[in-house]
Point group: D2
Chain length 319, copies 4
């Protein structure tokens, strides 16, 4: 193993930059030549390899987004696209590829490994919806961003004694909604993992109202139901003035939190070490505080599970 | 003048709390008894006066929202409501009223003064749409909140090389859109004071694209046109991937900025001093760095004017 | 078990408020009466119990510090003081006590349990220096505060091409220094757990300088050595312009991070559940992502260990 | 006028980057070639001119520090150094120079203009200590940074019921201390413009203490007196537990605030327009909300004056 490459793929996440930095620096520390690929698999198929030296990742540890850019690639899903990527990797004499991204990106990496090329995955997505790790890079920052935004909305909710419905990211996984809901003391949290029970939501609001609560926050994961429909239903049933805010793409950005920089650094270095130890077709993960690795195939088989004890904790604390 | 009261009215704004603090502390400093009224004019008509001592406004200078709550009141617009408020003020032997709010709140205050009761207005609204002052309390914080949010969105815009349309507050005044657009280097800024010219927007995007810009930001004031329609038009014309974020009510909250705490403190103290000097029916303002006051009636006659030189500055800097 | 009390003790930490909230709300949820004690053990000896209802912990989840105040108590270290506290607890018919604080606070709690009174500890300190848990409440916020401060200093370091020495908290434990140092990409990190080798520090600076680094950051845990002495030594040996900043008490404050709110909520609720299950003389902890509990005595015997693999990771990434 | 150059000099300030951006973009907008000089006058004497295109200042509007680096230059104070700089400017066929910095930097610029070379100054320093403008670029950000830091310290001050002495920047000008002190509700503010009266400080603390204040904040401008000496004096006289924090260089960094981005953009563009209008030896300023310009010589003659009415306002509000 002499030359390795790294790319970021799928939706960007805060912490991808410290992960790239760790891959590059650890690679050079271990005596490797490291190359960056811009625009994910799309750039890989074009063979856009950039040589990365120590300075190329200087002053990026605190920046959001990804200096290697990201993209989704339809063409890489085809056999043809994958073979093209392999040719470019071989032409550039690259011996291993590290892919920072989510589930979809790992399926792409796995295709290359099935064809004999060593790949390692690093879980980078704000959604935290990847098996094989307790935390994905970007999740902690995203939750803090949501919590800070809702803390601001709380000011106006409190001044006007209103109910606010906040729509947050997480189409298939309720992690962001559940964590941020618990962290702001939301009266109700609506997640894909649990049936949305309007009667229960209304009952909790009315109970809180009765004991003197001046404002209420309801957090809903996008995709479960629309915030404005929830708000309408609440107003009609309870008569409480209710507003909606859809937080949108600001959840993807921002300087990575300490935790995300930490796990990005750990996982990035680990990915290099795994390649050097001859591993391939595995993703790095953090389980119970320990760095582990597990085959892509295995991770894909198991479905990501939300810790439902947190859901019940949230309910018992927002009475 | 022995007893004065203070209330907050209309949409809440960051900095209302330091303004309340200044009114209370300066009042006591000048030997007055100060009372707070909760829920704006609605509370006034109910005679809900709370005695405020020095400690009652301790530890609030940094908090968003308003500890006196705010509300909009339909009933206070009627003669009947106003007379009821006057009765309560007289029963409580209150000699002057300070109203922190926007244009609508000042119209309410003016009604009381027309009936002989001394009132002073303090401009508190994030929209900056009040004549008689260069800056309203809350505007600086709101602009900073918008700028920080767009700085985050820029990370993901840059990673994915996308165009983002950001919808910000300001139904009738483009101040927030113009300031924040200039401060984030937006490619185009759409405000009620200027015709929205889609051809120009598209031309600027394509020109930027041609010279290598990797992402673009378009800021639009709500009420001019919907962000999603702009985004759709851009995608159809240019083929550039375009996303929308509606920032919503987080723009109203947050700890007040230094500037807002400063002008809130100045204006709050000034309002007390004006009452003591026998003024009534005037609002405090900040013009050219100086504290001034002008009659409600006068302020209402003139229309708030956006500084259009900033609009042209923004255009020349985002080429 | 019908009545329980909660207090905060020792140095305050962000997240103590969400922990208090969780204790109070979970207690009421489980049918208990919950009391707060102000000023830690000092207040306990005076029997200052305040009845806490659901609303008493409303709107505090996002506030730094502790609404119950904290204090260090010399008198509670004496047998006499402890007996006085027990009398007050018995007079108030309180059946269990939850203590949020650090090692010293737990030794106090243990004394009460040795005398037969059920106590549960919750680890709350920014230093992360408590055995029996991977994370203490407040550590994540403190690290983020330090990281944000150093990110700002980096701007000026970079503009002037200087070296900065940053002194952070952690007299006996290098956790804050190591985490924040790794998260800002510090060239060297000086912690109590490792010999401070000036030759190595200088060699790393000169090596970085040679390859074109424009600025350098050195993080030092207070108590190991003084920042200004390090800076002087660096200037004398390398000739590099070097400045010092001692971050000081701002590290203790600030709105708790999402992670701290989360573990504070989990641990607070767990403490109540442990009391109800008949446990006493134990502290709650988070190990490998799981909530556990361990006897005070046991936790005190083992010395807190820093994860030295992070130290070596930091070195390999800041070459 | 065909070619102009821009440099940053002296202590760096947040907002220098948006000022550079405005100079470059407005210059190109007006048909000029714009060059950047690195490391201030030091780089000027070496003739290090870098051609700046539109993209060279892309994505910097939100970054702290200065991409052109800054430096203090002893050699440029000599006639020899100035002549060398002029030679390099002439060799590069540059027709005008824009200097972003403080008083000392303007004296340097003036020397060039005295020798016939057109220069324009833009006031960039966090200290706000420049005549000829109400606000310098960087001041608003620095005050907000200080205010946020003290808001954090307030949490721990309140939890432990302590007095805190905070030392902030401003060796010769009390602007940062006065503004931030007023904005955090400090009990006393110690500035170079006013005699430090320990009896008064102690009297105010004791008065506050008597009426139930739980914590106190004293803000002191560095250079007036040392924070630790004040703290010692307070502890000895009042017996109140008192701590010190010296905020240090984090006050120089951070993403520029909206206000600083705004005035930096305005002043940067104005500087170009002034050069094109044939002005030289003048600095741009903002007075009463209007962009003005005044000769360096004139600005240097008048001493910067702090608005002492703010000092008395602060005193009346922190009773």
């Amino acid at each position: 193993m002499k030359k390795v490459a790294v790319l970021t793929s799928g939706g960007d996440a805060p912490g991808m930059n410290p992960a790239i930095r760790a891959v590059v620096r650890r690679g050079i520390f271990q005596g490797l030549d490291v190359f960056g690929v811009q625009h994910g698999f799309e750039g890989l198929m074009k063979g856009n390899f950039i040589s990365m030296d120590l300075g190329s990742v200087g002053d990026i540890i605190h920046r959001g987004g990804t200096i290697l850019r990201s993209a989704r690639s339809e063409r890489f899903r085809t056999e043809e696209g994958q073979i093209e990527a392999l040719q470019k990797l071989n032409e550039a004499e690259i011996d291993g590829l590290i892919v920072i991204g989510g589930d979809g990106s790992f399926r792409g990496a796995e295709k290359l490994t099935e064809k004999g090329f060593p790949t390692i995955g690093i879980p980078g997505t704000i959604d935290n919806d990847i098996c094989g790790t307790d935390y994905t890079i970007g999740f902690d920052t995203a939750v803090n961003t949501v919590v800070e935004a809702i803390d601001k909305i709380r000011d106006t909710a409190s001044s006007h004694e209103r109910t606010y419905v906040i729509e947050v990211m997480g189409r298939d996984a309720g992690d962001i909604a559940l964590w941020s809901g618990l962290c702001v003391g939301a009266e109700s949290i609506i997640i894909p993992e649990e049936v949305c029970d309007m009667d229960d939501i209304v009952a909790r609001l009315e109970q809180g109202n009765k004991r003197g609560k001046k404002h209420s926050i309801i957090v809903v994961a996008e995709g479960v139901c629309r915030g404005d429909e929830i708000a309408k239903a609440i107003e009609q049933t309870t008569g409480l003035e209710t507003r909606v805010t859809v937080l949108g793409h600001l959840q993807r950005g921002g300087s990575p939190s300490a935790f995300d920089r930490m796990i990005a650094s750990q996982m990035g270095a680990k990915a290099i070490d795994l390649l050097l130890d001859g591993h391939k077709g595995v993703m790095v993960g953090l389980k119970g505080g320990n760095l582990i690795h597990s085959p892509f195939a295995e991770a894909a088989k198991v479905q990501h599970k939300l810790d439902m004890s947190l859901y019940h904790l949230a309910r018992s604390l927002s009475i």
